[in-house]
């Protein structure tokens, strides 16, 4: 690289030097050279001869002073180029005689020129006589001048030839250098081109191999992705993989997408999937904390809510936080669960609480507010055994069912009512004083007594209730409360049935003995 730059720089320098040389030399040839000194010296001699002839003619009265002056002017003009030329510098050995002749002629002719008048024949004659005496010697001397000019011009021409030859030598050298440089450059370019072609073919080979690998890799990835998609699509669970900022949805099951109300995956909005916005916020909060959420039950699909079990965990995709949320439809399980719960807490015949459920509800009511008044009613159908015996158990069951329905409809909503024995019911009245409870019991008893139960087959039975009532006291447990109510029921039965009996609370000190 540096070698190339050096080479190119050298070539440029050489080319510039050549150009400089050419421009310098060509300046010398801008105007035609002189080389006319030989003719000029010859002409000078000729004019001197003519001047001499004119001077002689004037002396013989055959020429005018003007003619002499014109001749002299011609000599002066012929002298001028020789006085100004530098050709004599070329002389290897100086020729002083020639130089002296030149100087003398200049001096003399200038003097004559000054003295000669255009119309003064006397002065002209005088000068003509002078000319006639001196000019023959000058003409002889001018021969040496002609020789000197010839020698000088010959040398000048040869110097110029040498200089030109030298210039050609230099230019030849420059051209040879440039040609060498061009050759080296061409070789370098050729080798570089060959190398680059080789590199390009290698690169091409590498590229195609890489492409093949990329293609196979892509195919593999695509297959994996398809497989994953198939697995996800065919899994009974619904899945969504979404960035934590919810701007990017990597995957969402078709069902979830549909349930969220979005048409496209990009428009999927997690929050619109939830029926209960609080559930959504809770899930978000836990995921934001980095927790893995296990088994979160919630209702999804606001348009047609169903129960789902969510499992969610935060993870990272391409370095960005994301959430993987699995949703499992547990509607059937939930229904089953609810059914089981109902079965476990409900009396199957009447649909009321069973004994266990009622007692649990009573305990809860007792614990809810320990200061609040609470009354418990125990109800028993008088002589129920007779109905069973006379009409059979199905009729007895019908009676129980009808009674249960009636009591439920008469009582306030929220009143706890359950069947706790064969023909025995219990009612828990929270926030109800004993007197109020007694009034309710009486109304209930009277309503039952006054409205006979109509059964299938035009059978109508009149039934009555015995009711034991008690109110919760400080320190009461469920057991003591039930015992007291039981006692009151017993008293109602003992007192002749179809009546209510309210057990007065024992005095505080006696309570301990009663328990």
């Amino acid at each position: 690289m540096w070698l190339l730059i050096l080479l190119a720089s050298t070539m440029i320098v050489v080319a510039l030097s050549g150009l400089y040389l050419i421009s310098e030399r060509s300046d010398q040839f801008d105007t035609p050279g002189r080389h006319t000194e030989v003719w000029q010296s010859y002409s000078l001699q000729l004019q001197l001869r003519e001047l001499l002839e004119t001077a002689q003619a004037l002396e013989h009265g055959e020429a005018s002073p003007a003619q002499l002056k014109i001749r002299l002017g011609t000599v002066r003009t012929a002298l001028d180029p020789l006085l100004r030329t530098r050709v004599f510098d070329y002389l290897v050995e100086p020729r002083p005689d020639a130089m002296r002749t030149l100087a003398r002629l200049d001096r003399r002719t200038a003097d004559w020129m000054q003295r000669l008048d255009w119309r003064d024949p006397v002065k002209a004659a005088e000068i003509a006589s002078r000319m006639r005496k001196t000019l023959p010697d000058e003409i002889r001397a001018s021969h040496e001048l002609i020789v000197a000019c010839n020698v000088a011009v010959a040398i000048q021409l040869d110097r110029e030839r040498q200089s030109l030859k030298q210039t050609f030598h230099w230019l030849g050298g420059f051209l040879a250098l440039i040609a060498t440089g061009c050759l080296v450059l061409a070789l370098r370019i050729l080798s570089a081109q060959r190398r680059s072609r080789r590199l390009a073919s290698e690169l091409h080979r590498l590229n195609s191999s890489l492409e093949r690998r990329v293609q196979s890799r892509t195919r593999l990835l695509h297959e994996r992705e398809t497989l994953l998609q198939t697995i996800l699509d065919s899994t009974p669970s619904e899945v969504t993989l979404i960035s934590a900022d919810q701007r990017r949805v990597f995957y969402v099951s078709h069902t979830l997408l549909m349930q969220s109300g979005a048409g496209r995956q990009e428009a999927f909005d997690l929050s619109r999937l939830f029926v209960d916005a609080d559930d959504y916020q809770r899930l978000l909060a836990r995921l934001d904390r980095g927790d893995t959420v296990q088994q979160l039950e919630t209702r999804l699909y606001p348009a047609a809510p169903y129960w789902a079990l969510l499992t969610a965990r935060p993870l990272r995709i391409h370095g960005q936080p994301a959430w993987l949320i699995w949703s499992f439809d547990i509607t059937r399980r939930k229904t089953m669960e609810q059914k089981l719960h109902r079965l476990a807490t409900t009396d199957s015949l009447t649909g009321l609480y069973n004994r266990r459920a009622l007692l649990r509800a009573a305990i809860q009511a007792l614990r809810e507010d320990r200061r609040a008044p609470l009354s418990l009613l125990l109800l028993d159908i008088d002589h129920f055994k007779r109905i069973n015996d006379a009409h059979g158990h199905p009729i007895g069951d019908d009676v129980l069912k009808t009674l249960a329905r009636r009591m439920s409809s008469w009582l306030r909503a929220g009143t706890l009512i359950g069947r706790i024995g064969g023909e025995e019911f219990a009612i828990v009245l929270p926030h109800t004083q004993a007197a109020e409870a007694l009034a309710i019991a009486e109304r209930l008893r009277q309503a039952v007594a006054s409205a006979p139960v109509a059964l299938s087959g035009q059978l109508t039975l009149s039934i009555t209730l015995s009711i034991g009532i008690t109110q919760r006291q400080d320190g009461d447990s469920l057991r003591t409360l039930v015992q007291r109510a039981d006692h009151a029921l017993y008293r109602a039965k003992a007192e002749g049935r179809n009546r209510s009996h309210l057990t007065e609370a024992p005095r505080q000190p006696a309570a301990a003995a009663d328990i």
Binding site: D30, T31, P32, Q40, A66, L72, G73, T77, R84, M113
Partner: protein
Amino acid sequence: MSRYRLILCAWLGLWFPALGWAQSPPYPADLSLLTLFDTHDRVIDTLTLADLEALPGHQVRGPIPDNDYPESTWYGVSIRALLEHEHLLRPHSMVAAALNDYSETIPDADLTRYDPIIAYRRDGDFIPFGEYGPLIVMYPYGEHPELHTRTYYNRTVWQLSELHLK
């Protein structure tokens, strides 16, 4: 204003000597300077300075060959105009001969192309006999740099005295 006046004065100062109105020649005014010969070498006309000055003149720039003087401004009569004035048909060529017996042929084509002049003033002054005068054939070297060749230097005849039509 004074600046313009200065420029005007300088301009006039440059041109007035060139016109040479207040100058007499360094030779007798009645001296015949140029002789015209026809193709049979018969004299057609001889011209004095006054004859030449009577003709329309123009100026060119150029050097006197072979003596290293800087270029001068020359004023004189166009040869073409001179021939027209003499009612002469344009010759094939003409030979310009000098006082020093030098001569060179000037082809007619030069008259058309370059319109050389017979100069009688150099930088505004008449030209003495001792300084290449009184007449010089001068080409417009200033306008045509291509004239700087030996061919035209040879045709730039100084001390012109005769013009032979051929």
